[in-house]
Symmetry: C2
Subunit: 640 residues, 2 copies
């Protein structure tokens, strides 16, 4: 029906933003709301005080009000006696000072002689201990300009000034329209090829957070007439529209053609990744933002273009993220001519912020959720070398990052439990873990990119775990190898073990599709050793090149294939209801610098590890045993 347009533009992001901002010509509406409900709302006009606060001369102390000039002769040698009602009156804090009195003497400095008479021995100065009219707020003073976001104390000022309702900017209504034949509403059955619609909820909540009022539409099928109908309806009832997916240049990407037909397309494609296939246009006088379908692209594009519109409507500046300078743990490559938004994990190790990129796949929502920050690589930069410094925008509070323990190396399911237990005793602490494999874990400790790494590396020579690798790879460094777990490694197989896999030879003989781990993972090294011992070549193993990054990922793959087979730990098989055939008992230990070993953070961690509650929790999973009473090996002394 519509001609296919293959090429998207590469318009600079800010140019595209300025155009759409200029095109967004909606006049903000005001509404009068009760002040008590106005937290976080934006003032629609300057607010002036209708009267002064205090609105009378008020005593600032408990005491007596006097005429200052009549006390000037008071002295220790010349006590003055004052009469109630004539020369003084009693006042408490907050009481009005009646005329002609003009000073307050604290009750502590007054000698009460009888019900009617007091004695003072010090003069009062005019206006002492009196809060004059308008001390806090002077009538006609501007309390807040327009565009002010009301905070708790601001509401107090309004109420104190008798302003029980306040004119605020109405929240802009933003229509959110999800489209796609593959989408099903949350709660509906998910057949293969079907995806639950969740971007809409995310968009709605971002818009809410920015101060807008989202209206989430039901799912619209990929049919031009239905999309057109939804857009036209939304253009009548919202301040602007966000339409999700169909924004690219594929077979069923109708959106750009429809907007062109109904109005104007300003931009189709921006020079930024991920998030490039954006459409910015206008129909029926209403701005439309077409956002790509992959979640990470979508959230970035929403922030680039929807947030400025919400802020423009409200008359508030766009919030800026805190930034921090980090050392890059890995090389980062970017393309010329486009901005790159790289999701980063950030840790505070050895007094320095260290950051590593997460996956750059736009479909991996968890990479956005797990990210501590965004590295925005400008269009004219092709990347950064490992070890270079760069500025990163934070997605979490700096303190949260500073307090996180960076765990790396081999993946183990108990690390999440450890993190939970830690957070329970100390809410400000947590473990941030990345799965890079045992070998990469050791290297991360060496480069100061993580606090602690989990490793399980069998030495084929000595048949010992870990120690020889640490000695070799961390030679001369002050490190500690801390015994943590014994765990069962074995074959992870479809339920019932249909191919009857018992050992590595069976993989070849029975034609299993093997699911491997990445290079440097302890399990991969174990598998290679098994191959070698059996005299087999990697080339003979179907699936040898297919690498997964965790035990769970291996198990998930095995579960989807009746001929699948993997090597991994028992709890991963158990969690997915798969068969497990034990191969070996391995030692999963923790390696860390000596300074981290001696830190308060690790002491707390060690306490949790050896707590009965944690041990019980771990051993309940099965296939685990927490190592007790083993001596941590301080390796620097031996090596030096």
């Amino acid at each position: 029906m519509y001609k296919r347009k293959i090429y998207l533009e590469d318009k600079p992001r800010f140019e595209a933003r300025d155009e759409i901002l200029a095109a967004f010509e909606v006049t903000p509406e005001k509404e009068l709301i009760p002040t008590v409900d106005a937290l976080g709302r934006v003032t629609a006009e300057p607010i002036f005080a209708p009267f002064s606060t205090p609105h009378y001369h008020a005593s600032a102390m408990d005491g007596v009000a006097v005429v200052a000039e009549s006390t000037y002769t008071a002295h220790e040698q010349n006590p003055l006696h004052l009469k109630l009602g004539v020369q003084f009156v009693h006042v408490d804090t907050g009481n009005a000072i009646p005329s002609p009195f003009n000073a307050v003497i604290m009750i502590e400095h007054v000698q009460v002689l009888d019900d009617d008479t007091i004695e003072i021995i010090e003069p009062a100065t005019p206006w002492q201990h009196i809060r004059p009219i308008g001390e806090d707020i002077v009538q006609e003073e501007m309390l807040f300009p327009q565009g002010h976001v009301l905070r708790p104390a601001d509401l107090g000022v309004l109420i104190a000034s008798g302003l029980l309702s306040v004119a605020v900017v109405k929240k802009p209504v933003v229509a959110v329209i999800p489209t796609g034949n593959e989408l099903v509403e949350p709660g509906q059955e998910m057949a293969p090829g079907k995806i639950v619609e969740f971007n809409g909820t995310v968009f709605a909540n971002f818009i809410k957070e920015w101060g807008g009022e989202p209206r989430l539409h039901r799912i619209v099928k990929d049919e031009p007439e239905k999309i057109k109908e939804a857009l036209l309806e939304a253009s009548e009832t919202s301040d602007f529209i966000v339409i999700n997916a169909g924004s690219s240049a594929g077979r069923k990407d109708y959106t750009v053609h429809i907007i062109q037909e109904l109005g104007t397309v300003y931009t189709h494609g921006v020079a930024a990744r991920p998030g490039k296939p954006v459409i910015l246009g206008k129909i029926n006088g209403t701005v439309v933002i077409g956002v790509p379908g992959y979640p990470v692209s979508a959230y970035l594009a929403l922030e680039w273009f929807a947030r400025p519109l919400v802020c423009k409507y409200l008359g508030v500046p766009e919030p800026e993220r805190q930034k921090v300078t980090v050392k890059l743990g890995r090389r980062i490559v970017s393309s010329m001519g486009a901005e790159d938004f790289v999701r980063m994990n950030i840790g505070f190790v050895n007094g320095q912020f260290v950051a590593n990129p997460l996956t750059r796949a736009a479909g991996v929502t968890m990479s956005y959720v797990r990210a501590d920050g965004l590295l925005v690589v400008p269009p004219d930069v092709i990347g950064y070398e490992q070890g270079e410094l760069a500025e990163v925008e934070l997605l979490r509070p700096l303190e949260e990052i500073r307090n996180a323990i960076m765990f790396t190396g081999s993946h183990d399911l108990t690390i999440d439990l450890l993190s939970s237990a830690l957070k329970q005793v100390r809410t400000e602490m947590k473990i941030v873990s990345s799965h890079v494999g045992s070998m990469a874990g050791i290297m991360a400790i060496r480069k100061g990119e993580a606090h602690v790494a989990g490793i399980h590396l069998l030495d084929p020579e000595t048949k010992q775990y870990n120690i020889s690798y640490v000695r070799r790879l961390l030679a001369g460094q002050e490190v500690v190898l801390y015994p943590f777990l014994k765990r069962k490694q074995g074959w992870i197989l479809p339920a019932g073990n249909p191919l009857e896999i018992r050992d590595v030879r069976d993989l070849v003989e029975k034609g299993a599709n093997f699911v491997n781990r990445q290079k440097g993972a302890g399990t991969r090294i174990l598998f290679d050793m098994l191959l070698e011992e059996a005299g087999l070549e990697p080339e003979g193993i179907a699936g040898y090149d297919r690498e997964m990054f965790s035990h769970l990922a291996v198990a998930a793959e095995v579960k989807s294939d009746a001929c699948g087979a993997g090597l991994g730990i028992y709890p991963a098989a158990k969690a997915m209801g798969l068969e497990f055939v034990p191969v070996s008992d391995e030692e999963y230990d923790l390696v860390m610098t000596r300074s981290f070993y001696e830190s308060e953070q690790f002491k707390l961690l060690a306490e949790i590890i050896h707590s009965p509650a944690f041990k019980a929790q771990v051993e309940k999973i099965g296939g685990y045993q927490v190592v007790e009473n083993a001596e941590p090996k301080r390796l620097a002394e031996e090596v030096k």
Copy 2:
């Protein structure tokens, strides 16, 4: 009834906090809520993924699914023909890859020969362009630990995982009880001595912001039985209680005695100012926080003790404020043995953050509202010298402070209008003004503490305004004097001018109570000149020593006294419905460094000043005329 206890403790704040945290033994409740409503809520338990996402091998591209191994021989010189249904199937992005296919070739790389046949000239590698099962989320993976505050994208992850409801920590219920005979509910009439109850609303909104659920009680009279009843009722229905005022050691400060009677008092008084008279205790198993009555004391005490309890209940760390190092524009004196919380204005001038203290009166709510940050002076520090560097906790986003124009010097009502107009064109900009008087304004420019100062200083010799002062006080500096306004100064008098004041002699002869301005204010200098010309002495003027800091404050004072009289500008008199007798037409000009004069910020300001809209607005007030076509005086050249 109760014995008066005069002395409050001076317990270190953190000690008091740790005690009350330990005493707060409430077990947090969980509640299951719809995920779509869970923004900002805190997870009550770790959340694991019930299945993988994608839950099937999904195509990452529009194209054809093939068996990779069957394409290995494809080459430009050896095109392969594949048959639909047997050797390939069509797939769109997101479609499931049917068995036995294991790779996707992009549609752009496929030559369609007929409905059933395609040609390819390149081999596919296994799993290319396929999003494998669990690429985003692997079944049984921990998505979030307990104590995680849910953000928009987190809700997407939950919904994608089929988790349409989520167990969150219930919001802790916090009872807020305002007490005091002087209090009236908002909207009621305010006689002298009566104060509208607004702290309760502020507390409720702070608690809401921190994640609690406030229950605001009606006002309770200062009667022990009524307070007791309110406390006991709240102890049954809330997780903890905040009671406002009565926390000090005065005549009617019953709270501490009541808590002692009903339970335990842990703390009465902390070593921190303002906010010292705090009570921390427990009745009926429920923690009670007695908060002082003055607003600023109250808000600080609430943050010190109520926020940690809310965060403990929720299992989240207390948020920390961003900090910034500032240069102190004035000397700050503090007392030994107690922390001092000094509200500060912060400006970004000449590439440096410069901060000045606001009033330290605990009753001045606006000082908290206007503050950009808090300087926390530790108990063992007696203060800081002017020019010293200190770290300040920010009460506003750093960017907002960085973008503010620091206006100082003489007070004029048009500055607020200018700020409003500026914010309308550029939402991220605003003017922050402090009223220090013309002379102090010039000194602030000299010391680099402000961007621009408003001045109106008449030289008695030359009868010229401003220029001679700037030449003398800013000698050798590159400054610009920018003509801004002509405005009317005159006597501000009660309506109808009952004392018939016409000139300065009348003040003395008719026994007026004069309201003066602070030293260094242009109006004060004018008044002193009038005195001198009339041959009068300051001692002869009743009220000469009573200093106000703005025209509006003078007018407010005059309004409250039938014998009052002040000197000030016409709009201040007009705003309060007072009489105005003109004395002189004065020149209110702006002084700034040359670099600020040449900045984008000032160019924008100048544009607004000379816009017809702004001029119309200013002249509508009356007594003003915006100066047109006058040449700004660049003073460095003349002086050098």
